[in-house]
Subunit: 231 residues, 4 copies
């Protein structure tokens, strides 16, 4: 499989990581949950459009790479719905007057996104019973009760999707790994405004924290999970 | 100032991040702490040597980029000692029989590092009163009481050094930011086995989570902190 | 000062705790925050009434002991407003379909409180700028970004009020102490449905985690904090 | 079964808790872990002795109530060993020069316990493969990677033992509950220096967070767990 970082990470660097022992595949467990992170209009726009067009609507949009990824998230979502596996939506909570701090310093524009930007696209919309996790910080685990839901539902494996690859996805994957969940990242179901940041963060995650593959292979791997229904 | 990512992140990507509003400088506070992360022989070797030479001693070594960075950490350490500011050592705890989990799956070799590898080089050795934080996971905050020490010492600003840029440094910076500490990363006081991963992770951190500068500028900035003694 | 546990904890037990070294006073810091925990109609009813009357409206109500305590919380709130010190409202988030888990097993009735029960009484109502913290679990720190707000606002001291003394107050005080905040609990500004549980939990907190005093003394102590305005 | 709080919590208070809906039994899961908290010589002394005798050796000792409880912990330990279920030892880490903060203020004597006090009695001594968790704060979850070990080992149920009932046991039970683990507390396998604090904290836990029973019933319940071997 071609990997997004193939042309960015040099052969020398790949040899160095292999020599240090990184990059083995983790075993998937038997009880996966799907995390759909920050897939709200604010990160893709209300209609597919190229990056520079899309940011006229929401400065935080990644444009049509987000729409492409959302198509793959929808495929994963179908598998999870068929199997009645948990689906969880960590999402950017609308900013409130008391939300200042370092985030507002690094990017003041984040405080002024229009309310429509916080809504979920129909293609991946939550259903009753899904776990909704408003969050104030990058990682889906930070300052949220995500771990409690995962433990309650006996989850042992996380399939992490959404955006941005180099931001909230990356932070959530690192925390998921540290919590000892098996983590699977479908590289074409996560997205970012920089393809370089996207690719290198996927390389980091594949080396140290997660199994990284395309969505089709991820679905095949999930079908192999004990108890999954054929879809 | 030339930045490590200047030749890796395209002008297009830089414009995209600027358009989204990222990359502002955070205000430093008045009470900094120095985090020296994982600067143990296992990440640099017992003597300076090129990468492929150094990993013969410890497969986890980054080689002489680590020794170069350690020189800059020592300069920062001197400033912190002069001002009696807190110095904290989050470090890789020697692996024990019960430490398995996802880490051992992704990199089995990490479980077999010789005990000498866990020692601290004399150049940055801890002194009595420094806070020692053995850790089992990437972020210095995960599964450690780091936050409690920072709150006890009224710290508001973290200067994050050590390794690897794309691993434990990155994870700690994201958590430090999420906790609302101001974060300063001197780019020549952190190190990694891949210069691409090093550079792109620094770009990510500079864009979203931290002020990134060279050590000399970091020291100048610290001298401007209220109450610092001239050094 | 008479303490709520005077008639419940024996002299023998008090001597035992003193022999073990417990019960010293912690130093208050210079930057307090007021936590008003779960003071919603669901814990006091919409009008003052005795316990057995009040639970006809909300099974979770503590009745008029809650109204008494709310009067003292209002006095503390006035001091915090005068000094522009941070006021934070960790509160029970309305239950959603996905909120099951151990809580619903231990007390299924908690899942069915009418929506009016989640509103705040006018006497202690939040104002714009106050920090609102919906929570799913007992401690105000668990699964919320409370620590991030406290660090952002340079808080070093928590004044903890609300209910129940033996539940969410107790859990929040233990976590506040573990985080190394100085903790002050005004015993007549916290409330519970059992006076025995109330008293013994206050004894536990006074012995190990917090300074416990009446509201008038708490206000005097806060007036001694550097920079407070006379009120 | 007679409960430790029968003579301390009034019938009125019991009726109040029942009216509020508290006190249901939680379902146990299928994968239990045993937590043995702070059972070190510092909490029981090196030989069984009455309280006032025992504290001459260690001011923090609970005396012979601890030895009685340890006998019951040993019975539980045997069941866990027979079934190869995980056994974990959250324990008080020896104090270091940098460990100050609120704990040292509330009880300065805690900083000066002789090193023998940190050792484990032979009756419940750890074996290779058990999870060791040095901790600095009351709850076994706070500032430790306990959750990561529990997730790695697919644990869904905690059996919490050790001391003190009103301190580290209570804190750990509240956090275990908040994390959505089923929690079982054998009341004669936990101990405290105050029988009143012991009893009322057990009442709190039985009402809100855990199943509380005697050790014999706890062992019977564990034998009913799917897959347990007869012992």
């Amino acid at each position: 499989m071609n990997m997004p970082w193939d042309d960015i990470i040099s052969e020398e660097d790949k040899r160095r990581y292999a020599a240090a022992g990184f990059g083995r595949q983790a075993r998937l467990g038997t009880r996966p949950a799907l995390l759909i992170i920050d897939v709200q209009y604010r990160t893709i726009g209300t209609t597919p459009a190229p990056f520079w067009e899309s940011i006229k609507e929401f400065a935080t949009s990644c444009g049509d790479v987000g729409w492409d990824a959302m198509g793959n998230i929808a495929r994963l979502l179908e598998v999870f719905r068929e199997n009645d596996w948990p689906v969880m939506y960590p999402y950017v909570a609308p900013k409130e007057q008391f939300d200042q701090g370092r985030l507002a310093e690094k990017n003041p524009a984040l405080m002024k996104v229009a309310s429509k930007g916080y809504e979920f696209p129909a293609e991946i919309a939550p259903q009753p019973g899904d776990v909704m996790l408003p969050k104030k910080h990058p990682s889906a685990f930070f300052g949220t009760p995500l771990t409690s839901y995962l433990i309650d539902k006996r989850v042992d494996t996380l399939v992490v999707t959404g955006c941005t690859t180099s931001g909230c996805v990356r932070g959530s994957v690192v925390d998921g790994f540290a919590n000892n969940f098996s983590v699977l990242v479908p590289f074409d179901a996560v997205y970012d405004r920089s393809q370089t940041a996207h690719a290198v963060n996927l390389f980091d995650m594949a080396s140290k924290y997660a199994n990284v593959t395309d969505t089709s292979s991820a679905i095949d791997a999930l079908k192999g999970v004990a108890g999954s229904r054929n879809v």
